[in-house]
Amino acid sequence: MSKSVKRVYGYLAEFESASALYKGAEKMRDAGLKKWDCYSPYPIHGLDDAMGLRRSILPYFVFFGGSTGLLTGFSLAYITQVVIYPTVVQAKPSNIFTTSAFFPIMFELTILFAGFTVLFCLLGLIGLPRLNHPLFASRQFHRATDDGFFIAVEARDPNFSPEDTKALLQEAGGTNIELVEEED
């Protein structure tokens, strides 16, 4: 007997195809579960609705990231070229009308800042990077990145119960239902 304490992470059930996963997800959603997720090797379109997920809020962050970039580009060029050290090159003046010559730099910095916002806010929203996850202890979960379709229901969901959730997963079409445990 192993002496280490284990904590139940939740149930993991396999579904045979994307269609089966979709139908299963609708049942889970309608059962009122909150802490659960569908796992698939590729993004399945329409699954957000079947799971009752809202549209990603990422674009709002990116809008502000891009705006910051635009302002940074303008300030960088304007302050250095017009305010601090006005340089008159090729007879081009240094005043507010010079701004049109700064458009390329403002544009590039908008894209640059927005791109970094996409990267870092995405990682924040999906909770990565992390080095381990209880699901990786499962004997079948490695197939989720190959050809397996899974639903995992976490034990910390308020509606979780060892018998009912298992029955629900079975009824939804899940097979190979496994109780995933994490080392404490």
Partner: protein, 495 residues
């Protein structure tokens, strides 16, 4: 007539046209597991002998050309290049514009074809994006060393120098610094984020050990949950939407380096669209140059099908024709403007001492791709490879023609001089070709060269409603899509 067979005439005289099934992007009914195994297998299995035959010479050329050539340059002085007064730009800037242009096809495939929902891009986008990154790395070498004292290259960054004087933000050369560095950064983010799920696939297949550790580290703990996919897809869409104007801006800004000057032959408004079309044209030729051999070496015929190759041929034909139009329009505008110096510049270009470069450019970029009007040429991989090689050469010559035929004769006849590249120029340029191939071969060896997750998504059974559609099929759809049959017809045409 085939038409008559397909048209079913109704009793009331109306005609119902048949609805054809969409061409499949993955042939021979391959499964998810087959796709994973075939693509991840490239990274997991030992490389074929041919890989080593390509890798060792490429790495040697890169070492001699880039490391050796640049060490010699820095230790001796920038005078070892052939650049002389009047032709200050010469080969280094030709090479810079050439390599930057190559990169554009990668972004076009990954971003613009994504926004326009061209699903065939999934089989080629990863390799094309890798090509973008490596091409921009090769490009970056030239302007950095062209500044003369490379240890002063930090002057390009927006930091004031010792006298608190800032860079000139009104200069296209500084715009270029911002454009190229943003382009590289965003392309890298796009490429890496796109690869995270596939790195997780390789991680999950690996036995515990060094491979599992590194792929685990770089896949960031990806699990493929829909709560992750949902945000991930939005991120991908946003990056595509950001990259699309970015890629158009980068070569436009590169063209501003020329177009905003007052040099006859450069001072034209056609430059930005002409440069962008040329960049996509040259880039697609390079995608084909590296993908067709890779497809053959790793037996990827079911993933990169003849449909993919034909689509790329058509893009080369379209952009090549735009480029041809730009060449002619440039001449026409020079004539129509009545500008004496403009006309002289183009006369020099065509009939001057560099006439041979103009002929090479015209033949390779305008005449050769016209062969792609013929289906037979688009389907014969030897011809496709040959034309793509010509386009690669032609696009290098285009930049040579623009830069070198314009600069050596200006203002004072006293400083007219025939520009010749020095051996160090040649060695360094060939070195960057070696560097590009070395990096690409390492990419094939260590990273998933095809987007595993997205390719699975193009299979019919990947649809969440596939079962319902099977149960209630549409009426009158005929299984007549072209390529699933043609690929089996003649295996010998694959090189």
């Amino acid at each position: 007539m085939a038409d008559n067979e397909n048209k079913a005439e109704q009793n009331d005289g109306s005609i119902t046209l048949p609805v054809f099934e969409r061409e499949k992007l993955i042939l021979n009914g391959r499964s998810y597991a087959w796709i994973t195994d075939r693509i991840a297998g490239i990274v997991e299995k030992p490389q074929p002998l041919l890989w080593w035959f390509l890798f060792i010479p490429s790495a040697l050329i890169a070492l001699i050309g880039v490391v050796g050539g640049l060490t010699y340059l820095v230790s001796t002085g920038v005078g070892v290049w052939g650049n002389t007064n009047r032709t200050m730009w010469g080969w280094p800037i030709v090479n810079f514009v050439f390599w930057i242009g190559i990169g554009h096809a990668g972004t076009l495939i990954s971003a613009i074809l994504f926004l326009t929902r061209q699903n065939w891009r999934t089989s080629i986008n990863r390799a094309a994006e890798a090509m973008t990154i490596f091409a921009v790395m090769c490009a970056g070498i030239f302007p950095a060393f062209h500044v003369g004292r490379v240890w002063m290259a930090w002057f390009l960054a927006p930091i004031p120098n010792a006298n608190a004087i800032w860079q000139n933000f009104k200069s296209p050369l500084l715009w270029d610094v911002f454009a190229v560095s943003t382009y590289f950064t965003i392309s890298l983010i796009f490429w890496y984020l796109g690869m995270v799920p596939d790195l997780a696939t390789i991680r999950d297949r690996a036995k515990p050990g060094i491979r599992k550790f590194f792929y685990g580290l770089f896949s960031l703990g990806w699990r493929g949950g829909n709560r992750q996919w949902s945000h991930y897809e939005m991120a991908y869409l946003l990056l595509a939407a950001l990259s699309t104007p970015l890629v158009l801006s980068v070569h436009s800004i590169v063209s501003f380096d020329f177009a905003t000057s007052t040099v006859p032959g450069w001072h034209t408004t056609i430059f930005p669209p002409y440069f962008v079309a040329g960049a996509i044209f040259g880039g697609f030729a390079m995608v084909m140059t590296i993908m067709i051999p890779a497809r053959s070496i790793y037996k990827l015929h079911d993933v990169i099908t003849m449909k993919h190759i034909e689509n790329m041929c058509k893009i080369i034909l379209a952009t090549g024709t735009i480029v041809g139009y730009a060449y002619l329009m440039e001449l026409f505008v020079a004539y129509y403007s009545g500008g004496k110096y403009e006309m002289e510049a183009f006369k020099l270009r065509i009939t001057g001492p560099y006439w041979w470069a103009y002929v090479v450019m015209m033949f390779c970029n305008v005449v050769a791709p016209q062969a792609f009007w013929l289906k037979a040429c688009r389907e014969n991989l030897w011809i496709v490879m040959g034309i793509c090689m010509l386009v690669n050469i032609g696009m290098w010559f285009e930049r040579f023609v623009i830069i070198v035929t314009t600069l050596p004769r200006m203002w004072l006849p006293g400083d007219w001089k025939y520009y010749e590249a020095s051996p160090v120029d040649v060695v360094t340029f060939v070195g960057t070709i070696g560097m590009f191939l070395t990096l690409f071969l390492l990419f094939l060896r260590f990273l998933p060269c095809i987007n595993i997750a997205e390719v699975k998504w193009t299979l019919l059974e990947s649809d969440a409603h596939f079962d319902d559609k099977q149960a209630h099929p549409d009426d009158g759809v005929e299984s007549k899509a072209a390529y699933q049959y043609e690929i089996k017809k003649d295996r010998s045409m694959e090189c």
